[in-house]
Amino acid sequence: MSTTTVAPREGSSGLGRLKRLDWRQNLIFLGFVGIFVIFAVTLSSKGFLNPDNLLNIVRQTSTISVMAVGMVFVIGAAQIDLSVGSTAGLASVTAAVAISSWGTVPGILVGLATGIAVGGINGFFVTVVGVPSFLTTLGMLGIAEGAAMWATGAVPQNIVDPTFTNLFGSADIGPVPGLLVWTLVAVGLGHVVLRRTAFGRRVLATGGNTRAALFSGVNTKRVVFAVLVLSGALAGVAGMLYAGRFHTGSYQTGTGDELSVIAAVILGGTSLFGGRASVVGALIGSLMIGLLNNGLILMGLDSSQQQIASGAIIILAVAITRSSR
C-alpha cells in the first residue's frame, strides 16, 4: 500500500479551481455585487459609498455574521438552532452582571460559559433525550430570554468597563472597526474548520446522511452535540459584542436574530437539509441582508416598508438559486 504513482489531479491550477467553484456560491456573490452596484449608483448622493456608512453596515451585521458561522455548522449537520438570539441576550446580561461584580476577565468567561452552557443543554436534549433540535431550541429560545429578563428584573445592566467595551466592539483599530476583526476571525476560523479538518467532514457527512456517517464510524451524536455547543458559544460571543457596542446587557439584546442568522446562512448556499454548507457564503449572506436594510432606508423607505422589501428580496434570492439548480 505504499505506491504513490498517481496521475496529477486535473484542474489544480488557479483557473481550474475557479471553474470548479460551486456556481451557486458565485450567484450569491454576484447578487451581492449587483445590489452593491445598484445602491452605489442610485444612492451615491445620499452617502451610501461614504466609508462611514459602509463600515456601519459591517458593524451592524457583525453579530449576525458571528452567529451565522455557528449556524452553518448546525444546519450543515441537518439540525437547527432557534435559540441563538436569546442566548446572545442572556450572555449579554450575565457578562454585564459578572463584570460589575468581579471584573473584566471573569465577565468575559461568564459570558462565554453562558453560551456554552445553553448549547450544552440543547445538545443534551437533542442527542441524549432525543428531542428534535427544532423543538429543543424553540423551547430554549423562550427559556433563555425569560431567564435573562427574570435575573435582571427586566432592567438593562450598564457596563462601565472600557477594557471590555473596547475589546468587544466599541473600539476601532486605526480605520478598522474591532467588530470587523471579530467577524473576519470567526469566519476565517469557521471556514478552515469546515473545509480543512476531519471535524468539518464529519459535520457534513452527518448532515448529508446520518446513517451512512454512523456506519462509517462517525460518532454522529457527538457531532450534533458539538455543533450545538459551538453555536451556543458563538451566540455568547455575539451577545458580548452587542454588550460591548451598546455598553449594556439586556434581555432584549438579539431578540429575533435567529431569523436573520438562518436567512444569512441559507442565502449563502448552505442546504437547509444539511450536507452542504459554506461559511464564506454565510458572511456574504449576512452582509447582503445588512446592505439591503441600509440601502432601502437610505432610499427613504420607512422601517415597515424596508422590512417588506428585504423579506421579498430574500425569498427571491433563494428562489433563484433553487429553481435554476
Partner: protein, 522 residues
C-alpha cells in the same frame, strides 16, 4: 347509509383479454440518440398477452431507455410503437397509462403513512356524494382488486408497518386499479428476500394466467428462469437475441450479454482456480463464540481464517444481516465474545469495530453506505477520518487516495470530485467497497454486495474480494443469490434462527440444489 361506488371495476380481466390479438405491445425499429451518442439502434421488442418477457443486458445496454420510451418518458428518434397492432403515440406517462401501460417502480413510490387502500387509490380517490373521501368504498375497491390478484392483504393496514414484500404487491394493485394491462417491472426483487420474491412470483403467475403482459427486468438469472417465458438480451443499444427460456440456456444468455468478454471473466470467479493461503496453526482472523444480540442472534459460533471467503446463507429471518450488524456494533450484543486475530475485542459501536480491524459494506448502499450528495473523494475518505485528530486535511492527499481507489476498483467516473449519487449502482458499490479497503481491515463483511448491479461490476467486485482474501485477510459475504454464493465462497455457513445451522465445504456444494436443500433443512 348505503355506500355507492362511483367507478367500480366492473370488467373481468379474462373477458377483456379474450378478444385481443396475441401481441400486447410491439416496438418496431426503435432508434434513439442522446447528444450524438447512440443509445438504441433499430431495436425490435414485443410482449404478448399472458407472457412474462425478461429483458436482460448490462447497465448501459439500453434496457432502461427502451422502457422509458414505452412509458412515454422519452420519445424515440425513429421507429414505431403498436399497442394491439395499432400505432400509438406515447408523449407522456399519461398517454402510456391510457393505453394500459404501467411501470411498477424500482424505488417504491408509496406513502408510508397512508393505508394500503389509500395508496392504491392515490390521485384516484373514491368520493361520497358530498365530495368527501369515501374510505369504505376505497377499502371495497381495493379488496376487489386483491381478490382478483388472489392476495390476502388488509387494505386498511398502514404501508409503513408492512414488510417490503407487500409494497410491491400494493404497487401492482395500484397499476391494476388504473386498468393497466401491460406491466413493466424493473429489478422488482432487488430489495426483497427470497420468501418475498417467491410471493411476488406467485403473484406474477396469477397475473400472467389472467392475460396480463409483463416485462421483467432483472440481473438475477435464477429468477428469470423461474418466472420468464421469453428472454430478450440487449447489448450496446442493440437487440441481440430473443428466444424462449427453453431454447436460451443461461450460459448463452451471459455470453450474449457480455459479448466476447464473457468466457474469460466467468472463469475467474471460480474459487477452485485460486488457492487460499491457509495457515492452520494461526488463530482464526475472526472468531465468534456464543453470540447473542438484541436483534435475533441466539448463540452463534463462527470462525473465519486468513485467506478464506465464507458465504453466509439463510432464509428470511435467519439472522444473516443481524449477525453482521451485531458484529459491527450497530445492533446491541447481549452475550458472547468476538475475537479478531486471536485478540478479544469489545465492540459497542461501528467506531470500535473499525478500530478492531472490521469493515462492513451494508445492505443498502444508498441509505447506509454513501452520502450521495458528496463527492467520491469525500465518501472514500470518510471512514479513515471518522474519529481522532487529523489536523489540516490537505485536499491533494484525499484526491490521491480516492484516485488510487478508483483505479484499483475500476470505478467509472469522470473525476473523484463528482457527487457519488451521479454514478451508476455498480460504481457506487465499488466506492463503498473502496472506502473500506482504505481502512485496511482484517475482516471484510459484505451484506448483499452485488444486489442490483450489472455483471461487469459484479465480476470486478468478486475479483477484488478474492485478491483481498489472498492477501491473508478474511471475507464474510451475505447473498440471497445462491449461485453467486456458490461461485465465490470457500465455505458456506447456513444460518437458522440466529444460529449457525450447517456448514458446507466445496465438495458438498457442487450444485445450487444442494444449497437449496441445506437452506430448507432437508
Amino acid at each position: 347509509m348505503e355506500v355507492r361506488v362511483t367507478e367500480a371495476r366492473t370488467h373481468s380481466v379474462e373477458a377483456e383479454v379474450a378478444s385481443r390479438s396475441p401481441t400486447a405491445v410491439a416496438m418496431r425499429r426503435i432508434s434513439m440518440s442522446f447528444g450524438g451518442v447512440r443509445a438504441l439502434e433499430d431495436v425490435d421488442f414485443d410482449v404478448r398477452w399472458g407472457e412474462v418477457h425478461a429483458l436482460l443486458g448490462e447497465n448501459g445496454a439500453g434496457k432502461s431507455t427502451l422502457m422509458k420510451i414505452l412509458e412515454g418518458v422519452y420519445r424515440p428518434d425513429s421507429g414505431e410503437i403498436l399497442v394491439e397492432g395499432k400505432p400509438v403515440s406515447l408523449r407522456s406517462a399519461d398517454d402510456a397509462r391510457a393505453h394500459g401501460i404501467a411501470m411498477v417502480f424500482q424505488e417504491f413510490s408509496l406513502v408510508p403513512t397512508l393505508t394500503v387502500a389509500q395508496n392504491v387509490l392515490l390521485g384516484n380517490e373514491r368520493k361520497t356524494r358530498l365530495g368527501l373521501l369515501d374510505d369504505r368504498a376505497a377499502v371495497e375497491t381495493t379488496s376487489r382488486i386483491f381478490e382478483e390478484m388472489n392476495v390476502d392483504l388488509d387494505p386498511r393496514a398502514e404501508i409503513g408497518a408492512l414488510p417490503a414484500g407487500y409494497w410491491q404487491i400494493t404497487e401492482i394493485a395500484k397499476a391494476l386499479s388504473q386498468h393497466a394491462r401491460i406491466l413493466v417491472l424493473d429489478e422488482p426483487t432487488a430489495s426483497l428476500t427470497k420468501d418475498e420474491t417467491q410471493a411476488l412470483f406467485d403473484q406474477l403467475r396469477v397475473l400472467r394466467a389472467a392475460g396480463i403482459a409483463i416485462v421483467y427486468i432483472s440481473h438475477r438469472m435464477a429468477e428469470i428462469y423461474d418466472i420468464a417465458d421469453r428472454i430478450t438480451v440487449m447489448r450496446d443499444g442493440r437487440k441481440i437475441r430473443t428466444d424462449t427460456v427453453a431454447q436460451f440456456p443461461v450460459g448463452e444468455v451471459i455470453s450474449e450479454m457480455l459479448g466476447r468478454a464473457a468466457e474469460r471473466q466467468l472463469r475467474r470467479v471460480n474459487p477452485q482456480t485460486t488457492s487460499p493461503v491457509h495457515d492452520p496453526a494461526a488463530p482464526p482472523l475472526l472468531q465468534i463464540r456464543g453470540l447473542h444480540s438484541a436483534n435475533g442472534i441466539n448463540g452463534l459460533d463462527l470462525e473465519i481464517r486468513a485467506g478464506e471467503i465464507v458465504g453466509l446463507a439463510g432464509l428470511m429471518g435467519s439472522g444473516r444481516s443481524e449477525l453482521v450488524r451485531a458484529v459491527f456494533g450497530i445492533d446491541k450484543v447481549t452475550a458472547g465474545t468476538i475475537s479478531v486475530a486471536g485478540r478479544e475485542v469489545k465492540i459497542r459501536n461501528p467506531r470500535d469495530a473499525i478500530e478492531a480491524g472490521l469493515a462492513l459494506v451494508p445492505e443498502d448502499r444508498r441509505v447506509e453506505g454513501l452520502v450521495l450528495a458528496h463527492t467520491v473523494e469525500a465518501n472514500t475518505r470518510l471512514p479513515t477520518i471518522a474519529a481522532g485528530w487529523h489536523g489540516w486535511l490537505a485536499t491533494n492527499v484525499g484526491d490521491q487516495l480516492a484516485q488510487k481507489m478508483v483505479e484499483r476498483l475500476d470505478v467509472r467516473t469522470s473525476s473523484v470530485r463528482k457527487p457519488v449519487g451521479l454514478l451508476s449502482g455498480g460504481n457506487q458499490q465499488k466506492v463503498v467497497i473502496g472506502k473500506w479497503l482504505l481502512t485496511e481491515p482484517e475482516v471484510f463483511m459484505l451484506d448483499e454486495p452485488t444486489a442490483g448491479i450489472d455483471i461487469g461490476a459484479k465480476l470486478q467486485i468478486i475479483e477484488t474480494l478474492r485478491q483481498f482474501a489472498d492477501g491473508g485477510k478474511a471475507v464474510l459475504v451475505i447473498s440471497s443469490e445462491l449461485q453467486e454464493l456458490l461461485e465465490i465462497s470457500d465455505r458456506i455457513v447456513v444460518l437458522r434462527d440466529g444460529r449457525a445451522d450447517r456448514e458446507l465445504t466445496p465438495d458438498e456444494f457442487e450444485s445450487e440444489e444442494a444449497l437449496h436443500r441445506a437452506l430448507q433443512g432437508v
